[in-house]
């Protein structure tokens, strides 16, 4: 742990009483010897929705790729379920950790059900496509993402929000405990953003999943996430529980904006994070120090 500036890392142990499912220690990663993620240590516990935020190019996506094993760390290591990520066999890893990159893209003509079925691949036996658990998992994932009416529609015909839900349904069909999502809400309108966030939040509460989401909408992150992981220039600027005024000053520094709490939003709907519902307004800082 080299980061002394993790100012608001107040109570990581109290916040995660149970053993972390995914744990990164002193992680460095990048492309062609260019270090994009530097010395990041973080944890993801069951039942937790973790928001990963930070300015563009700060290494959020690279961090997620490293955590999901798409990219080899140049230093440090990732531990999944108490064992080094690279020591799991590929299907074993995929049964424990699901991840979705930023702009996934499916072949022409593929239907929603075809896609969700792909999520069962890590559970498949040698030369066997379908198992009796598969049908159940697929139906459940489809129902949870409310895709029942769309199962036989080609993905190309769906709206952006519906397509995103179909991809998430695929990862849910994997039935893994850990789920890492890279900007699942970025291209969606507000209604579909809420759909996706409610869905993810419900998964952490009902199925005890550990979910990390990269996102740009800070108000949305504050409303739904249990904890924020703020990244800045490849490093971890801080991990903080939501309701914390020190969070605001951290955000001010990292994004170079001024943060103003403008409204106390009405209490979150039932099942949503009981945490704070502050509405923040951001302005570009005028006088740079």
């Amino acid at each position: 742990m080299t980061q002394a500036q993790m100012t608001c890392m107040t109570e990581p142990d109290a916040a995660s009483p149970r053993r972390a499912l995914l744990k990164a220690s002193d992680l460095c990663a990048g492309y062609d010897r260019r270090c994009i993620v530097q010395h990041v240590s973080c944890e993801l516990s069951p039942g937790e929705l973790l928001g990963v935020i930070g300015p563009n190019g700060c290494g959020k996506s690279t961090l997620l790729k490293t955590l999901s094993g798409n990219l080899m760390p140049t230093r440090g290591h990732v531990e999944l379920d108490g064992r080094a990520l690279s020591r799991w066999s590929r299907p074993e890893r995929a049964r424990r950790l699901a991840a979705l990159p930023q702009h996934p893209d499916a072949p022409v003509g593929m239907t929603v059900r075809d896609l969700v079925q792909c999520g069962r691949a890590p559970h498949a036996r040698w030369l066997q496509w379908r198992h009796h658990d598969d049908r159940f998992a697929i139906e459940q994932a489809i129902a949870e993402c409310r895709l029942d009416a769309l199962t036989d529609r080609p993905l190309a015909e769906l709206s952006g929000g519906e397509r995103q839900r179909a991809w998430i349904a695929m990862t849910l069909a994997q039935q893994s405990r850990v789920l890492l999502l890279d900007e699942p809400t970025s291209a969606l309108d507000i209604g579909h953003q809420l759909d996706v966030m409610h869905l993810l939040h419900a998964q952490t509460r009902q199925n005890d999943m550990a979910i990390a989401v990269v996102m740009h909408d800070i108000n949305m992150a504050i409303r739904f996430c249990d904890r924020l992981l703020v990244m800045h220039r490849g490093r971890l600027a801080g991990q903080c529980p939501i309701a914390n005024t020190r969070t605001w000053s951290l955000l001010e520094d990292v994004f170079d904006v001024s943060v103003e709490q403008t409204a106390q939003a009405p209490t979150a709907p039932s099942g949503c994070a009981a945490c704070c519902t502050n509405m923040l307004t951001f302005n570009r800082r005028q006088n740079k120090t």
Partner: protein, 360 residues
């Protein structure tokens, strides 16, 4: 939970369901139609040539095989069994090899342009064969002494090039990427093509055999060639069948496939080696036959869809059908090299497809 705007669209939903249901019969119908075309093509192929026979004569000639005395005397039986049967079987097998190689390569590259010709496997086989023909004087002609030496050289050339292409596309820490593989294949192909041109100009007096071989011909192929290709075909098909699931998942992109537990680089390597095995054995037996590996997978994808479990059997039959009928055409037109015919028919057909429908 918020009530989302996920309204039912009954009509669209029904259309989607119909589409999904109609896919399986489409596959069955396609397979049956292709199977019939193949059977008919093989029968016709046994009867057509310098000495034309009716279907009845062909069947009689085939049956003669089991009557030991009559078999030796009948010229029909000799022609059917020793000349046309191996040729027909070889045409079908080469068609299968090339189209499955195309399916595999297009599958791992997720690129519609990928084919055995693009990634340099064909060029490698051709160059190795050319070197054998021009550099080793006793084997100036493809047939004769070098009956097995030439195919083996071509095969080694194909495999060597596939390894080189794979190695060139490898990036430390990241592995391979589809684009790098195609670029490496194109570059290596161009390089080998240049060297091939040099050899053909420099040894202009000896390249007669090379020219014929490069055009791809099924003429004068014997049971030797069949026994050479058959094991490669069986091994290749077995490997291809094992790659069906990872290939399907790879269609979702490298990252998603990795997250679903697919060993992306291993799948790529296995597919390249399998494709080289299939292409190499085909090229070494009959020379360069272009376009089959490129267009058959495309046409079949339009008919039976993207899933490799459906695509592979359909492409297999379609490739065999295309080559058997192209060989018949080549024979009717007076022993034209079959590679010339596949390119001449395949090219315009491909263009027509490109303009008629969305070909992606």
């Amino acid at each position: 939970m918020t009530t989302a705007a996920s309204q039912l669209h009954p009509a669209a939903e029904r259309a989607g369901a119909d589409k999904a249901k109609s896919q399986v019969p489409a596959l069955t119908i396609t397979l049956i139609a292709l199977g019939l075309l193949l059977a008919a093509g093989m029968l016709v192929s046994l009867g057509v040539g310098g000495h034309n026979m009716t279907i009845g004569q062909v069947v009689d000639a085939i049956a003669l095989r089991w009557q030991t005395d009559a078999w030796a005397q009948s010229p029909d039986a000799t022609i059917v069994w020793n000349l046309r049967m191996p040729r027909t079987l070889l045409a079908a097998m080469v068609g299968v090899n090339l189209s499955i190689a195309g399916v595999l390569l297009q599958g791992i590259m997720r690129n519609p342009l990928a084919s055995p010709d693009i990634i340099g496997v064909t060029a490698g086989a051709a160059l190795a064969a050319t070197i054998m023909i021009v550099a080793v004087p006793p084997m100036m002609v493809a047939s004769g002494l070098g009956l097995l030496t030439l195919p083996l050289a071509a095969f080694v050339g194909a495999m060597a090039v596939s390894v080189v292409v794979f190695a060139l596309s490898w990036q430390p820490g990241v592995g391979t990427s589809a684009v790098r593989m195609i670029l490496a294949g194109v570059a290596v192909s161009a390089m080998l093509g240049g060297f091939q041109g040099f050899l053909m100009v420099y040894f202009a007096d000896r390249v007669q055999g090379v020219v014929l071989w490069l055009a791809g011909s099924l003429n004068t192929r014997s049971w030797h060639h069949v026994t050479l290709v058959a094991p490669c075909l069986l091994i290749g098909l077995g490997l291809a069948a094992m790659l069906i699931r990872p290939l399907n998942l790879l269609q979702l992109g490298e990252a998603v496939a990795h997250n679903l537990g697919v060993h992306v680089n291993l799948t790529r390597m296995a597919a390249i080696i399998t494709a080289s095995l299939l292409t190499g054995s085909a090229v070494c037996a009959v020379g360069v036959i272009g376009f089959v590996g490129l267009i058959i997978p495309h046409i079949m994808r339009l008919t039976v869809g993207h899933t490799h479990g459906r695509l592979m059997p359909a492409a297999m039959l379609a490739g065999a059908v295309m080559l058997v009928w192209a060989d018949i055409g080549a024979r009717v037109l007076g022993e034209m090299p079959v590679g010339v015919l596949t390119a001449m028919i395949g090219g315009p057909y491909f263009v027509a497809l490109l303009y008629g429908r969305k070909l992606t």
